[in-house]
């Protein structure tokens, strides 16, 4: 077996890229994902045979790779995708998790969900159509969710005779539009998902294109430095107290590092109490470790017997978030009943849960034109706006632009228990 096969025991350790795809069925998104899965050998014979026979029975000329990703029977019957689906594939050095979001139905809710955990966003456009309202909207949402890397894949290049001119025009148009957004890293790639050009293999049809293939870019884009290794943030999730004879005095604070590096000897502050102490030990399972950093799940011990419980946060005395009950945030609303001033909801932020009241809806953002409608007064399903909240418990938060973990929250309807909103914090006081 070739040594560069991702599936050998020796190759067990690789890194991880999470990306979100956006685009409609017509843009060839499902075909592209099918192509990535097929060309990275993540599709098995029985899966391929199933779609081949379905394609034949439907009278198609070629195997419809889109069928590989149409999951639920109700979706197959209707020929639409109704929900975010997660797909997996691996190449020798990287594992990929795709959050595949539908283009049409409930696009905002689903895209926001898919983008919330993504390192990279992949927006697909049809070369014949150029940028559409939908592709602009996708870019706006990826920017709002602070997805640090964006790929604009110009698909169906075969249908425009591999025209460099078409590619350049869409590229220019998008770059101009993107100046209004937060897109730190952009790659524009001409492809044909159907024929595979510039997806995994470099195309002979685009001699004028010197950039990477899509797969090469996905494999090499540098995501490790997207994490914050400076500002220590450790939301306490669970207090481990074995209460056994062997570990009688054991008291460990368990959680997932949200920012910075924690190590023995660090002076820390516990929020919201403000008590200070020093880290005496950092553990991962039964091992003491030298340092913990995002996104490790570890257990931290403190020198002093300070009162720490779930919902508290461990930070540094000179670098800690200010406990805030007045929150200014962008909210994506995800349910039919609109969000209105004075509405009360449950709020979950890091490991903290409380209640929140809507003080003001400052404006609704038109995700197509970026226009701010200050007269909106409420937010409907799939709408995004800037909202002021007052919370019952102080949130130990950072601006979302600084930390995607300590800057985000969800809103829950207290009667139904359903998640109805997603929030990205601008500031707290």
């Amino acid at each position: 077996m070739a040594s560069n096969d991702p599936h050998t025991a020796a190759q067990g350790e690789m890194d991880l890229l999470r990306f979100a795809t956006a685009g409609s069925v017509d843009d060839g998104k499902s075909t592209l994902i099918g192509r990535l899965l097929l060309d990275s050998k993540s599709i098995f014979e029985d899966q391929l045979e199933a779609v081949e026979s379905t394609s034949q029975s439907k009278g198609y000329d070629y195997t419809d790779l889109a069928l590989l990703t149409d999951g639920l029977r109700s979706e197959r019957e209707q020929g639409i995708t109704i929900d975010v689906a997660y797909r997996y594939f691996a190449t020798p050095n990287r594992k990929f998790i795709i959050a595949d979001t539908p283009g049409h139905i409930q696009y905002t809710r689903n895209m926001v969900t898919g983008a919330s955990t993504a390192d990279l966003g992949l927006v697909l456009v049809d070369a014949r159509q150029g940028l559409t309202e939908q592709s602009r909207r996708h870019a706006v949402l990826l920017s709002l969710l602070r997805v640090p890397h964006l790929v604009l894949a110009i698909n169906k290049m075969d249908l425009v005779d591999w025209s460099e001119e078409v590619y350049e025009k869409i590229h220019r148009e998008f770059t101009t539009f993107a100046t209004k957004l937060n897109i730190p890293d952009l790659e524009v790639i001409p492809i044909s998902a159907l024929q595979g050009d510039n997806v995994v293999n470099r195309s002979e049809n685009t001699p004028w294109y010197s950039g990477p293939t899509l797969m090469h870019h996905l494999e090499h884009v540098h995501v490790a430095s997207d994490r914050d290794l400076v500002d220590t943030r450790f939301p306490v999730q669970y207090v481990i107290r074995p209460k056994s004879d062997q570990y009688h005095d054991f008291r460990g604070y368990a959680g997932q590092v949200a920012g910075g590096v924690l190590k023995k000897g660090d002076e820390v502050v516990v929020l919201p109490s403000g008590m200070t102490s020093t880290i005496s030990r950092v553990e991962l399972f039964d091992q003491e470790i030298a340092e913990a950093f995002p996104p490790m799940s570890v257990t931290v011990h403190l020198e002093d017997d300070v009162d720490v419980s779930r919902g508290d946060m461990i930070a540094r005395p000179k670098n800690a978030p200010k406990p805030s009950q007045d929150i200014d945030a962008m909210i994506c609303w995800m349910t039919n009943e609109p969000l209105k001033p004075r509405q009360k909801l449950a709020i979950k932020h890091t490991t903290r849960t409380g209640r929140a009241m809507v003080k003001d809806i400052q404006y609704r953002l038109d995700v197509n034109s970026l226009h701010r409608d200050q007269e909106a007064g409420e937010l409907g399903l799939n709408e995004i706006g800037r909202v002021q909240l007052r919370t019952t418990v102080p949130l130990l938060c950072d601006p979302y632009a600084k930390n995607r973990t300590t800057g985000s929250f969800i809103l829950i309807d207290e009667a139904t228990g359903v998640t109805v909103g997603a929030g990205m914090i601008n500031s707290g006081s």
Binding site: F44, G71, I82, P295, F409
Partner: protein
């Protein structure tokens, strides 16, 4: 002390492990009465290992629930017992036989034990008042699972409604349920079959011996190799053969086929999977082969 990662990089296995541990702790903190559904298969053993890591050195803050089909492989039961003993865990066994006797499940002689597990499982969850049940499902297993949430809400009837799923953002999980409802929790959602094997290999995790190649008397039926045993005997002109085989999944022994294999350790299994061209369920699970949407139907009814 374990050495620092000089470049602050974490491998995919470390990241998946951190995510799963986070999920275990979140559930233990927010749910009144969680339980871990333990089948004895490799995925549920990896779950158990992650749970062990999440709460060490404390014991698991929840019991294990096993649905005893009466048709489990002996090797699986002995591995289960060894894990339970080592962790000092509490084991609740829900038996399909008992569920049939109690009328929760009807044995019509046609329905497979895997399918009958649904009734036994739901009855056990309700009787014990479990509010969250960890399952070893992975999204890469099957198309219907690709849209499952980590926290999957079940109604009073234990059913899953794919159109009513809650959005799941960042690592903020919403554990709100009403009385009578429960949540299925899938800490391995983002793991693939290969990640599972790489992790078993790296961590030297004890799994049932039937996952490794061994000699066994088998008969070929419907394109599957079935192990000769009390329930499986050759029919008509079927030939009993002695072959080197291993199991890729461990379910009800009348429904779970094995594959020919020479892989006697985890490294060899990983190499074998690399060239395997059929999904683990497609190859060896009779109960998933009846229709393309078989899994989706069972999930809606409350299957794992």
């Amino acid at each position: 002390m374990t050495n620092t990662h000089v470049d602050y990089q974490l491998s995919q296995l470390d990241q998946l492990e951190a995510e799963s541990i986070h999920i275990f702790r979140e559930v233990a903190a927010e749910f009144e009465k969680p339980v871990l559904m333990f089948s004895g298969g490799k995925d549920s053993i990896v779950m158990l290992r992650l749970a062990e890591k999440a709460f060490f050195p404390a014991k698991l803050p929840f019991p294990l629930l096993q649905v005893d089909t009466g048709l489990d492989f002996d090797e699986v039961l002995s591995t289960r017992d060894s894990w339970v003993e080592r962790l000092g865990a509490r084991l609740v066994v829900a038996s399909v036989e008992d569920a049939i006797k109690a009328g929760h499940v009807v044995d019509d002689g046609k329905t497979s034990r895997n399918r009958q597990q649904i009734g036994a499982l739901l009855a056990a969850i309700e009787e014990n008042g479990f509010t969250a049940a960890f399952g070893g499902g992975r999204r890469d297993e099957e198309k219907a699972r690709a849209k499952e949430r980590v926290y999957s809400h079940r109604d009073d009837f234990g059913q899953w409604d794919p159109k009513m799923q809650r959005p799941e953002l960042w690592s903020l999980y919403n554990g709100r349920i009403h009385s009578g409802e429960h949540m299925r929790i899938f800490p391995l959602s983002n793991w693939t079959e290969l990640d599972i094997w790489h992790y078993i290999h790296r961590e030297q995790i004890e799994i049932p011996s039937i996952y490794f190649a061994h000699e066994r008397e088998v008969v070929e039926r419907d394109g599957m190799l079935l192990s000769i045993g009390p329930e499986i005997q050759p029919k008509g002109n079927e030939q009993v053969e002695k072959k080197m085989v291993r199991f890729r999944t461990v379910g009800d022994r009348t429904q779970t086929g094995c594959v020919e294999s020479e892989a006697t350790d985890t490294a060899a299994i990983i190499d074998e999977i690399a060239i395997a061209r059929v999904t683990e369920r497609g190859a060896t699970r009779g109960d998933d082969r009846f229709s393309e949407a078989a899994m989706e139907d069972r999930k809606k009814e409350g299957y794992f």
